[in-house]
Symmetry: C2
Subunit: 185 residues, 2 copies
DNA sequence: GTCTATATTCGGATAGAC
DNA sequence: GTCTATCCGAATATAGAC
């Protein structure tokens, strides 16, 4: 793997773990085994490198989630597949985490991958809800967009509850609660 | 207001806006109009001051929420009251935000107010669900604890979606979605 | 492309005068 | 209680040699 790739990958890791403010160029260089000159040769600075890392994380997350949501099964099964997907609950979402950082939200180049990821995800799930209703698999209920936002929010909020409790259980509770409600109608 | 109080209040503000890593002692002193000597006289350092600020934020948040949840109305109405409560959506939750910060989660004195707030909130909402079912106001469904976790997660996750989109609308969508599901059975 | 040297400001705190 | 002085390392780069 090239030095450039190692820098990006290290930044992905550190952004996930420590956030944008908490991630220093020096820490990235050490994690990547690269010198300063190397980093500043390939990237103009921390924001540039972080933007590359976030774009890559967003692309990876989307590709993996697309596989899940485009798979076989009823609308309910595919949404349940998303909610029940294997996750490292205590680490949380490497994209959703960035939404808390004011420096990320304030920089369009940093916020764009975050915004696009969630816009896509909410839209995709809303589409599945609409398909499921058209096919008679899902009962009528809230607007597809509202339901989709609730589903995604349960996951993102579930991470908050789990980290607050220092225990993954509240995440799983929230998912079970959401699934039961989706199933009821 | 005493200098000590101004320091705590300034820290509450800055923690909410910038997080723990993003909040420096100097920024707190300037916001509070206090000198360094003053701050280090009243508190042993940044962690000590942050702990005091978080305890106060947790107490305030809990008192305000208690008012809402203990009010009159059916179980559904009180939970809806919590979900629909007036909020500054783009600022997010000053307690939930802290769960993302590894330095907060790693320090028991800092994590305790966060953990306790959510433990109380989930428990209180679960209790309302149980009461509502006993009174025949709410249909059967998921475990009260699961439903409560989902409700709280929708709010915390709704903030993430809103900040990612730079628009409060996804928060409101998620709340509408959750309310519609709560209502259906 | 990568290395080392250098620069500036900030973060987080201690010491001691008033 | 508050102020000023001082300290040391980290954060975020730039410059120029190899």
């Amino acid at each position: 793997m090239s030095t450039q790739d190692r820098l990006i990958e290290s930044t992905q890791e550190l952004l996930w773990e420590r956030g944008y403010v908490g991630t220093s160029p020096k820490a990235i260089q050490q994690h990547a085994g690269a010198g300063q000159g190397s980093m500043y040769h390939h990237f103009t600075g921390k924001p540039d490198l972080a933007a590359a890392a976030l774009r890559r994380s967003a692309a990876q997350l989307r590709a993996a989630t697309e596989d899940l949501l485009d798979g076989p099964g009823t609308a309910y099964e595919r949404i349940a597949g998303y909610l029940l997907r294997q996750r490292d609950v205590m680490r949380g979402c490497r994209i959703g985490r960035m939404a808390q950082d004011p420096d990320v939200v304030a920089d369009p180049a940093l916020r764009a991958p975050v915004e696009e990821t969630f816009a896509w995800l909410r839209g995709r799930i809303a589409g599945i809800v609409a398909e499921g209703r058209a096919a008679g698999e899902l009962a009528d209920g809230p607007e597809p967009a509202d339901l989709a936002a609730a589903v995604v929010a349960v996951v993102q909020g579930g991470y908050v509850l789990a980290r607050a409790a220092d225990d993954p259980e509240p995440f799983h509770q929230a998912v079970r609660g959401a699934l039961a409600l989706l199933r009821t109608p």
